[in-house]
Symmetry: C2
């Protein structure tokens, strides 16, 4: 296979998912005389967070989803933030609430996440939603693993009995990813910083999901021939020119793409892989929340779930 | 090592845990002028369930825990059961509520579990508690995996980097077990009926947890030399005498104990392994609930948790 045919085009899959969501949000508007509505809270001025929020709001707008942006100073008190969330919980015109993470250290992420109405928790981080996912009866599924899962289902159709290895055990990616793959009958191994012989584990993977957050550390020696590789990492690699003092950087994944593509069956690029899917899944969850909040059935878009 | 020294004595560990719990329940009684209280609901006449409930009530009594048994006919409506739970939720003299599973098919287990106040959910099956466990911030941990984990911590102390393989992906054992082992820095593989090459996965396990529910199917060919083997299965093996028409049976685990003990470093027997620990952990959770419901600190008994 030519290498170009081995690229899992996340942008294309995201556009395809959004094309399915758009008529649902339009039908919603026709029926309830308002658009589905997503409220995003951004605390502070973290540059990466600002870019993420901007992309989310832009994608919402393009897909007939109303968005509300609430910008708070980085000195905002926990109490004030909880108050804002409480107002959004009560507002029947708000369907989804997202608090952009990370939060400043003086605010408890745990408390904040628990304060969001589980029926508006489009990030799927509330313990009730997290628990429902692990019990095999999901409500809102965290957007990044949901996006990875969507691409895997599109690529492989049947995941029965595949060996899936996940690198990273975070609540945002690794653990929910494990639950989704387990529900699809994969044998699932979760590895992390304390794992011994990481390479050996990875070389056993029909499906490898990397969510480490370190640039290009997974090279071709970690890959089983013909594996499907999903690279969740988005790492900034500085390319400063010492002579001209010009500051440049490029985004790379956890995986050494140019090498691994020669061995893998398929691989997601960075950028243009998992990133666009994450945002598309947020739109999916928001429109789902809007339907659920009106006690309306939501058509199952992501196979096996929703 | 002589084989007798390879047996992980679950009864002994359970007694040791109960000895730590007893003064806590006694102190509670002194302070609040009533014993911690566990309500157990049994629907129908399933013989195994009746034995389990009887053992739970007996152990409670011996450990200064008041127990209330509510027996309902197998024809009981879902509405009636939910009503009983609602009364127990409101009763400030009841600390823990346990509905013995399985329930008759006309009653939704999901609805029943969700109806229990999460603060009284000593089985740890409510989605909120299940989610909190997977988020790494557990409240009530399901009793069987908690019991297995307690024995593992006592045997091994440090689980960092161990390869743990779990057979079975149930909500009651496999999934919460995975979460506990992951929090203790094991590399965790979850296998199940759709797993290919189960034997190979198992032979890679420093810690093997079997929760299949089929008699003695894990033999010595599945075991890595020096592995720790925890056998969660409790299977009834019929030993009927055709000549005399006498009906006899014995209880066996998933693991072929007599063979595996020659290769393993340590192994739990059946009976006398995981079973007694499950009940001891229920007592632990009940006393914990009693303290929590009075907003009192609960002393951390099970290392790394509670």
């Amino acid at each position: 296979m030519q290498n170009i045919n081995k690229i899992i085009n996340g942008k294309m899959y995201a556009d395809s998912l959004l094309r399915e969501i758009l008529p649902l949000s339009s039908n919603y508007s026709d029926k309830f005389l308002r658009n589905p509505c997503l409220a995003v809270i951004l605390v502070g001025e973290d540059p990466a967070s600002k870019i993420y929020v901007k992309n989310k709001l832009l994608t919402a707008e393009r897909n007939n989803i109303k968005s509300i942006e609430i910008k708070l100073l980085k000195e905002t008190t926990e109490e004030h933030l909880l108050n804002e969330i409480s107002k959004l919980n009560k507002d029947t015109n708000v369907d989804g609430i997202l608090v952009q993470l990370p939060l400043p250290v003086h605010i408890s992420e745990k408390l904040v996440i628990q304060s969001i109405d589980p029926l508006k928790d489009v990030d799927g981080f509330h313990p009730t939603n997290f628990g429902a996912l692990f019990m095999g009866d999901p409500n809102f599924i965290p957007c990044t693993p949901l996006g990875c899962f969507y691409m895997l289902k599109k690529e492989l159709k049947n995941l029965d009995g595949k060996n899936a290895v996940i690198i990273g055990r975070s609540n945002i990616v690794g653990k929910p990813m494990a639950s989704l793959l387990l529900s699809s009958n994969c044998t699932v191994t979760i590895t992390h910083s304390k794992t011994k012989n990481l390479r050996e584990h990875c070389r056993n993977a029909d499906i490898l999901i990397s969510a480490i957050g370190r640039p290009e550390i997974i090279d071709e020696t970690y890959i089983k021939p013909n594996a499907i590789v999903i690279d969740v990492g988005i790492n900034r690699l500085d390319l400063n020119n010492i002579k001209t003092n010009e500051k440049k950087y490029k985004l790379v994944g956890d995986v050494r793409f140019e090498k691994v593509i020669n061995i893998a069956q398929k691989i997601t690029p960075v950028p243009g892989g998992v990133g666009p899917m994450t945002i598309a899944c947020l739109m999916h969850n928001t429109v789902k929340a809007a339907y659920m909040n009106k006690n309306e059935d939501f058509v199952n878009i992501i196979e096996g779930f929703s």
